[in-house]
Amino acid sequence: MPVQVQGEVLSIRKVGAYNAMTVVAPGMAELTRPGHFVAVQVGGPESSMLLRRAFAIYDVKERGVYGGTVEFIFAVHGKGTAWLAARRPQDKLDLVGPLGKPFRLPAQPVTATLVGGGYGSAPLLPLATALRERGCRVDFVLGAGSADRLFGQLDAKRIASSIEVTTDDGSLGHRGRVSDVLPQLLDRTGAEVVYACGPMAMLKAVSEQAAARDLPCQVAVEESMACGIGVCMTCVLPVVGDDGLTRLVRSCVEGPVFLGDRVRWNDIGSLPPDVVGSLNAAGGGH
């Protein structure tokens, strides 16, 4: 169950192109699992920005000198994240979390490949730690546009058995995409499960490569969200259910983690006629 907390910024620091923000938010850490996200109010009480911004939770501490903390990694994208980047220690911050369904952990000590794109590695690092604690082998693939947009390579190196890095511009590691190196890595390590978080196009490619090898693959998606708590229906995407039927499901409460082979990647942003209750173009109302 999520909580709403009047938190306080403990620290904010630059990590390459990103910001790492730690907030004192008592009561949230103990509820958080890898893959959960937090929704942050931006702009202050009189803000003209009404909607919360969602961020994957990177690290939590249940208690410390300052009480429980939550840390997330964010890129400045628009007005809300620009405001957030200008916060300073002791500023107040209203958080709701932990939200969503976290990654599911395997019951056996399997070999896992974790694929992160950009800040998408943030929730994968605590996941990797949890997998290692269960005796899993963990291999990482981290990709980004450029070296400064990679996050957590050092942590990943420490936790994982191996790490491969790709950048679009070749500024670090292999020049290209994670999907260029993933197939060989899956085959070489004998991966049994795949986890991924990053841009939608990357998640689609990873899901397909995992499916081609019959590997279970969990992906954390990023859909535009108005409420983050399941009441508004803005964050939906087409997902095939256990009954074989496709529904538009809320990524904030039924996700953000989905099975990669259940998401109809090519139909995101459209309305396939076989979706349950599919609305033909003439329908309306809001």
């Binding site: 909580v3 920005m49 009404l50 964050c235």
Partner: protein, 353 residues
């Protein structure tokens, strides 16, 4: 240093001494703060943040006969002090709604205001008939901001005859003792004439207002931001429009109960609607940024009333329509008491009527 705000139900205590009850037609609600349709689903999710039975009522997402996917994404765009949405009435259909959602609300002790939506007059009548004998049903809100498939997709709420036809059909099918509220669209030339048509057709009250049709264009993709091209604008950006609608309808129909909404963010915003003539209010979009907003608004409204010397919520309804109350002490008694030295006499100035 940091203050933990967990869910605990009942930690918001209405101001002692203030009677917050309000009557909407035949039903008395314990307080005047409701959720808004489409902004609270059917209450389960918000119950994680506060006890949904503490509100006046939970207005559920407009439900249709059949399960419905809604529109493609993107479905929302944030706008200055507001947002645009184009959900397309996604929902499970009335049968699943009754089994899962309404029964849950009833179990939970909440007062459910069920919002219904259809494409034909007959849809509305059938939906209403399905609500008969359902425990927990306190009120029906009829969302008539839907395209009439029998009239080239013309929105019911934009035509007084079509609006009246829907309300008449719903009233015929409605269980006795359950008020029927027509929810009006502000996107009309004269909202009063639609309100009058609905009341003439038997509406027990009016919900004001639904969203305003708007549009955002993404300057990076050079295309409309929403897949549905246009969407409904909500949030504080529309509040003055909503207050004006409540005011006009209250003036024309002094005795018809009004559920007011549109951009309510604080107790003072709610008070504005009440003073304009609302008998109760719904908190919609604000919930997305603050899931506890409805109970907070209730608490702030009670305090705002207490600060202004009210003892009963209902005494504030429509008060802005009354002539201004001028707090001048009464003049000397005609029988002839001497005014005490520090008492002021009413002063008039040149040119005053």
């Amino acid at each position: 240093m940091s203050e933990l705000t967990l869910r605990p139900a009942g930690d918001i205590t209405p101001m002692p001494g203030i009677d917050m009850t309000t009557r909407l037609a035949s039903v008395t609600f314990p307080n005047p703060v409701f959720t808004a349709s489409g902004c609270a689903a059917a209450g389960q999710e918000l119950d994680q943040f506060f006890d949904v039975a503490e509100l006046g009522g939970i207005v559920t997402k407009s439900i249709m006969m059949a399960p419905r996917s809604g529109r493609a994404t993107p479905r929302m765009a944030e706008t200055p002090s507001g947002m645009l949405n184009s959900i397309g009435l996604q929902g499970p259909g009335i049968d699943a709604f009754l089994d899962k959602d309404l029964s849950w609300l009833s179990h939970r002790g909440a007062r459910a205001v069920v919002s219904i939506a259809g494409g034909t007059v007959d849809d509305y009548a059938k939906l209403t008939a399905k609500l008969r004998g359902r425990p927990g049903l306190a009120m029906i809100e009829v969302n008539i901001s839907c395209p009439n498939v029998e009239d080239r997709g013309q929105v019911f709420a934009c035509d007084p005859h079509a609006s009246a036809a829907v309300i008449q059909a719903v009233k015929r099918a409605a269980p006795t003792g359950v008020p029927v509220f027509a929810k009006l669209s502000p996107d009309v030339t004269d909202i009063v004439s639609i309100a009058q048509a609905c009341v003439g057709a038997g509406a027990d009250g009016l919900s004001l207002i639904n969203t305003l049709l708007g549009m955002v264009i993404d300057t990076d993709t050079l295309r409309p931001a929403l897949a549905g091209v246009t969407g409904g604008l909500s949030g504080p950006a529309i509040r003055p429009v909503a207050v004006r609608c409540v005011w006009q309808v209250r003036q024309a129909l002094p005795d018809v109960p009004i559920l007011g909404m549109g951009g309510i963010r604080t107790g003072l915003d709610a008070l504005e609607f009440v003073l304009a003539g609302a008998n109760a209010v719904s908190v919609g979009t604000t919930v997305f940024g603050d899931p506890r907003a409805p109970v907070r608004v209730l608490d702030e409204l009670a305090r705002a009333l207490a600060d202004r010397g009210f003892e009963r919520f209902e005494d504030a309804i429509g008060l802005a329509h009354k002539p201004p109350v001028i707090h001048v002490p009464e003049g000397p008694d005609p029988v002839g008491d001497e005014p005490t030295p520090n008492e002021h006499r009413p002063v008039s100035f040149e040119g005053e009527a």
